[in-house]
């Protein structure tokens, strides 16, 4: 099972002028085997949704609920959420100098599984996951994300997705800043994850481009902190043709 259920979610961030509400009542259910795309203009709250699900301390949930298979996610710490089966591929993966990719991946895998992976198969698994996204195995010895190009950082996120094997993956603008080759490689990684069948995917994107490679079951248009419209893949095509203008103007 892998059902992520978001109900009436309200989220604020602290600003100099006091708390500011970014999410204003989001309802979204991602069932096992479903891929949902969230699209929307800049500043509509897409990334806030991703970080709120993952539990970033900057975002305060003021109302609503998030559950994974019926269990309250909001009560969990950031790492508990990951161990419960949530994964966030970040738009800007963070550099951690002096911590090797190999050490990081092994520590994360051990934490998520509750036991250390078997050494012999683990090294092979890491190499396979890296080769699948065309990352040279020498990246294992480099510091986490340090000096990686934008594309390499995103591919490293996909390596983690494959190795940590969560129930639900939230991909926050994983396509941004990628050239067409890298976009294909990253999309293939997400499709391999989807193909496992019992996974949920929440794909957050500004552009329709990635949806040519990853077919969503549902598309939600996000405007001003909530879902303004939803539909099937055809909605993405309409957005491609018309852009976000009608939603943004309608708001005004």
């Amino acid at each position: 099972m892998a059902t992520l259920e978001i109900k009436d979610l309200h989220v604020t961030v602290a600003t100099e002028d006091g708390p500011k509400e970014i999410l204003k009542g989001v309802d979204l259910t991602i069932n096992e085997g479903e891929t949902h795309a969230i699209m929307g203009p800049n500043g509509s709250g897409k990334s806030t949704l991703a970080y709120s699900i993952a539990g970033h301390p900057r975002y305060q949930v003021t109302q609503g609920s998030v559950t994974l298979d019926g269990v309250d996610v909001l009560e969990m710490s950031v790492d508990e959420r990951a161990r419960a089966g949530l994964f966030l591929a970040m738009q800007y993966p963070v550099e951690v100098p002096g911590v090797s990719v190999a050490n990081f991946l092994r520590t994360a895998k051990t934490a998520v599984d509750g036991e250390a992976p078997k050494l012999r198969t683990w090294v092979k698994d890491v190499n396979t996951a890296m080769e699948a996204v065309k990352m040279d195995p020498t990246f294992s010895q480099r510091s986490v994300n340090e000096g990686f190009s934008g594309g390499e950082k995103k591919r490293h996120e996909i390596v983690q997705l494959e190795l940590l094997d969560p129930k639900v993956a939230v991909l926050d603008e994983t396509d941004s800043g990628l050239d067409i080759d890298a976009l294909k490689i990253v999309s293939e990684g997400v499709n391999r994850f989807k193909a496992e069948g019992d996974k949920g995917v929440l794909l957050i994107t500004h552009y329709t481009r990635i949806l040519r490679y990853i077919t969503p079951d549902f598309v939600h248009v996000f405007v001003d902190g909530k879902v303004a419209e939803q539909g099937g893949p055809e909605l993405a095509e309409a957005l491609e043709a018309e852009g976000y203008d009608k939603y943004v103007n309608a708001k005004v």
């Binding site: 993952a54 950031v78 990081f104 983690q160 940590l164």
Partner: protein
Amino acid sequence: MTVTDAARESVRDALEQDQVVSHLNPPPSYDLDDHPVPTGREEVWRFTPIKRLRGILDGEKSDAHLTWETQVPEGITISTVSAAEARELGELPPSERPAALAIARAGGATLIDVPADFDGDEPLLLHLHGESVDDLVWGQLLFRIGNHARVTIVVSHTGSARYCATTSYVVGDGAQVNVLTLQDWADDAVHLARDAVRVGRDASVRHSAISFGGDVVRMHANVEYAGPGGEAEMLGLYFADAGQHLEHRLFADHNAPRTKSNVVYKGALQGDGAHTVWIGNVLIRKIAEGIETFEENRNLVLTDGCQADSVPNLEIETGEIEGAGHASATARFDDNQLFYLRSRGISEEEARRLVLHGFFQDVIRKIGVPSIEERLTATVEEELAKNVLGGSLVAEGA
């Protein structure tokens, strides 16, 4: 001023016949009168707790010494020379009082000779140990490294003393030298040190200063160049616990063209009254065209009650440089790093340990002395265990 005067002046400027007086770095002198006892208000002394230096700054001659344990690879020799001989052999003259005092009081210098073309993987180890902080010990050391030699030198300090030492590294052309000085003193030791390196033409020198112990450690690491093409990498790592004062003062004097300097110092502080100081001075003289310099200092503040001072200074007298820059940051844990690790299931405590481990490993892996790297990693882990795993850390915004 006549036209001729002006022309003469411009020629003189171009040739740099007059020594350029860097306002941060007074001209060197052996004369103690040129280095009056500081009051603590001087720019170069304002961070230092003068009273805790326990009388070193007006100290007299002393018979006390540190015990030396050495491992000397074949071909390298250690002997004693007079202060005058050390001067003739080209040691770098003192530019502040403790360095001048050490030479005036030491009663002779230890000369370590690494012959030209020496090539050894086995490091030269000098282990200096003090018995008591009541002992006032003066030290004058001169390392003479021949042309094209390749050598690793480790100087470690343990035990306790009031130790004031001046050390010169005169590095021949094309040599490759890796120096590590480790300050692993007992809690009450006071250590004033000046390491100065003159880099030969096309030579490369790495100097790493690691300070964990001592009540007060104040250490200069200076580099200058004997010719073009020299490179210096100045690394540092320090960990100040409650009440400790650890001060590192860097000076890269780019006095020759196409030379390089790269400074990376990283430190952590924990406990009430832990104080670290990092001063990074760089002078790019008019003659030093085409040079590259970068200096970086990062401090991680682990608990309340600590103070980290970090001051980079860049004086540039030529516009013809390849690159010059500096970065300085003093912060608590980086929330974004912790969030990233935790979002992969890693517990908060483990994430902190990883970030800290990485913070130091980033420098340790560059030191290039495998036997010492392991020891340093172990020492860092011990230091971290005092607080980090004890759970008394303060997180950003907590």
